[in-house]
Symmetry: C2
Subunit: 514 residues, 2 copies
């Protein structure tokens, strides 16, 4: 078996964090902006985000939820009236204090002391409080409920240690906000949103996830229940990929969201909120990337098929381009997974062989190379991104396929790649969840002795609260572990709580996390 | 002829500004947020913006331009290095000075004095300088050019007097930014973007516009040439609906955007930028609104056909809903103007007759009412939003049409409404451009004597510069007039400059403006 020369310098198994940075650069996804904590999302990275947005937005609209837009700036007073929320959030936020600049007399600019705001404004870290104000205006009667809104927006949480896509001061997200007549309806929406996230993660992004409830200590500030989907990265760490909160009447009390019920009495609404962000792209990288760069699942690939004509600055190039253009048009007329196939004819300068590796690093699902001989033979040379190497020869696994045959099978091929990426990730995830550890010592020694990428453990606990829970959290923290969630679909518990020895009431996932 | 009782309280001819506010409220487009200068864009208003975005984005992508995302915050230093730009912009901007809040000891919050930023950050008023930084990193050689980027984002310009959609402190827009090898390529892109805006305004939003160059005094800060599209509102005022700038090498010098040319020499890029915003929605309101509310052109209507079942809380409602659902599905399977027909079956509580007027005020292009008798007769009662009234009876002009006949003609009907709104606006616009005024006195008395809505005048001038131009601008300002642009397609001048008496070199549009 031949040695394979991978397209990246760093291998996942050698230094996962460094590999992550290299994929982002090599796949041209994003870069540091020079502005503290803010990144630039480059066209290929943003194109993936646009696909995620489109697919998520279709699901949001199909659920009868309307998009709307609320202010970037939130008055300070909004944060002080919901006690738990301010406790959780009123820390690291960007604060606008002035509305004008003036020259400093030394060639620079300073905030104008005469243009200080009476009340500083906070750049939104999330929009519960400002959307709550609007809900209070819009809801009068039970006839106005449910009120179901979503916003696509940028938010800012001042972060000291940032990592591209995973934790940046500014990030892009969608935030759903709904108001209901009662607990039951609001909880049902909380779970609908969670299931929507699961479906989008698994079907669109090919990210297998486990949906479950967060323990008390991990709740969103002001929430009564917080649910999440958790994905396993290739280093065995967990990534929280989306959250859905049942807020009870906490925010309704703070903002005065009341309605007249069917009997004429005034009631407070039960509200929910739920969000996913550009963090999902980080999850895609760390789940599907390999030592050659990114592999983008076809459903979220901006280009699913890239055609590279082998141009040579000769007169014959014209005919070759015509051939490739005809191929492009044929492919674009095919449908895969409910949409027209997205195909790019890449005519940019440079050799096809070099550009092949650019597209491998970027993770385009299928790369076609077409030279004069392929044209004469009515063929294409096809490289699947999910199977770049011929393991026997150590060379790229190019397949020579008749043009018509390729076109006819393109949709099935893309579906196969999408399914394959999901199955690969799910198999790996399932193989790396360890069950049956019966004591805290076993858990600790498991994480200590299982190398760099130990995965997750599923253990049973008695669901302690208050100080008892704090003690558990501290214990876990000592091993850099956290409780990810209480899986919805876990088996019922059978034994004793790992921490207290009491009878266990549920199972929890414990892991290191991003 | 009967008296018509319009759906709004204020008529356009009585108080246009007040009418504008009433349409925004009655059509449920937006409202004041309580945060200074920021509005809430409500679902129907945002749905229209989403349609504008989608159609504009398709045009942007078709031109080979990639979307990307750049930071919300811009360091102060970026503004000081391009002298003209800072002069034009470094005035009313939101400035972030702190990154943390702390309790003030009185139950409130204040910016933490210990968390003051070393260098304040400006909330982007536009992104030339920060995107210029990225371009400087990304461009090395002529092979990297043209570099063509677009961003969909929120921007903030602190405004003292705000008006919803037309002038708000925060607004939503797209900003295109491109870099080229030379002046010719950059100018050609400036004009491509301008033409794209014209086509989108006219074909999608049904807004007739005049494309032309802005005079020197109206140029974007730092631009060499600024071009605009100008639309006429129903009060005869002009609305600048989009701008496209050729920036020369000004921003390239400031940010260091250099490339190695085909001969190996270092050159500065020639750059462009171009933008359109949520202001376009203001233009749609003031162009297509009438005394019954908004009329949304079908191409940008979130729902093109709204079906209102006449429900009566009786068992027969089930059959009626089935009939309406079947009709909805039939209509949704039709295509109009290249897309599936967007149809809503409105099952919300309330009487169909009341909901009819809600949808008239919102401006849905076609409203169908279906009662039990219509169902039995296989008919629908159809109301066209562009012809709500039967002028002879003064009653709503309901048309009873066989269901199959309506479905078969729905696409043609929507196209007819789209074309009709454009033609109506163009006819009105053309009738309100006055030519042939030969002296400044004639212009002044024209605007003084032509009532509230005098429209525009097209006059000839010698294109003065510097102090001579300033004098013209001052003269116009005295009559609340501005030069809108030098129309691309105007006739060549024939006479003398209106202001200087010299031989005229071009024609300009003079108008009051938003």
């Amino acid at each position: 078996m031949s040695q394979i020369r991978h397209a990246l310098n760093v291998k996942r198994e050698d230094d996962f964090a460094k590999w992550y940075q290299e994929v982002i650069a090599a796949a041209d996804l994003a870069e540091e902006s020079g502005v503290r904590g803010c990144m630039v999302i480059k066209p290929w990275g943003y194109g993936i985000w646009e696909r995620v947005q489109r697919l998520m937005d279709d699901r949001i609209k199909a659920a009868g939820i309307s998009n709307a837009y609320f202010p970037l700036f939130i008055p300070l007073a909004n944060f002080t009236r919901e006690a738990e929320h301010v406790e959780g959030f009123a820390k690291e936020m960007a604060v606008v204090t002035h509305h004008r600049l003036i020259a400093d007399g030394k060639g620079g600019l300073i905030p104008d002391p005469d243009a200080k705001l009476e009340e500083p404004l906070v750049v939104r870290p999330t929009s519960e409080t400002i959307i709550g104000d609007a809900m209070a205006r819009w809801v009068q009667s039970w006839r106005d409920l449910p009120l179901m809104l979503n916003q696509w927006a940028n938010v800012v949480r001042w972060e000291m240690r940032t990592r591209m896509f995973l934790r940046t001061s500014e990030f892009l997200w969608q935030e759903g906000h709904t108001a209901h007549e009662n607990r039951e309806d609001a909880l049902s929406e909380t779970h609908r949103a969670l299931e929507m996230y699961r479906a989008c993660a698994e079907e669109d992004l090919a990210l297998p996830v486990i949906a479950g409830e967060k323990p008390e200590n991990e709740r969103f500030p002001g929430a009564v229940e917080t649910w999440s989907i958790e994905a396993m990265m290739q280093d065995g760490k967990a990534l929280q990929a989306g959250t859905s909160h049942y807020l009870g009447t906490n925010f309704a009390h703070a903002a005065g969201i009341q309605y007249q019920d069917r009997e004429g009495a005034q009631q407070y609404c039960h509200t929910t909120s739920w969000g996913t962000s550009t963090r999902l792209i980080g999850g895609v990288i760390m789940t599907h990337g390999d030592d050659d760069g990114l592999r983008v699942p076809p459903r979220i690939a901006p280009h699913q098929v890239v055609i590279l004509p082998m141009l040579r600055d000769r007169p014959e190039d014209g005919a070759l381009l015509d051939y490739c253009e005809a191929l492009r048009a044929e492919l674009a007329a095919q449908w895969a997974m409910g949409e027209p196939v997205r195909v790019l004819l890449d005519k940019s300068p440079g050799k096809a062989s070099a550009k092949r590796w650019d597209w491998v690093r970027k993770g385009a699902p299928v790369i076609l190379e077409v030279g004069p001989r392929d044209m004469e033979g009515g063929k294409v040379a096809m490289l699947r991104r999910d199977a770049v190497w011929n393991m026997e020869t150590g060379k790229p696994a190019m397949h020579f396929v008749a043009r018509g045959e390729f076109t006819a099978s393109a949709a099935a091929l893309l579906e196969e790649i999408q399914r394959g990426l999901f199955e690969e990730a799910r198999t790996r995830r399932d193989a790396n969840i360890t069950r049956g550890l019966a004591s805290w010592d076993e858990v600790r020694s498991f994480f200590a002795s299982n190398g760099k990428y130990p995965g997750w453990v599923e253990v049973e606990w008695a669901k302690p609260t208050g100080a008892a829970l704090d003690a558990v959290v501290e214990k876990l923290k000592g091993e850099k572990l956290t409780i990810r969630n209480v899986p919805k679909d876990a088996q019922p518990p059978e034994g004793a709580c790992l921490f207290t020895g009491d009878r266990a009431v549920e199972r929890i996932l414990v892991a290191r996390a991003y």
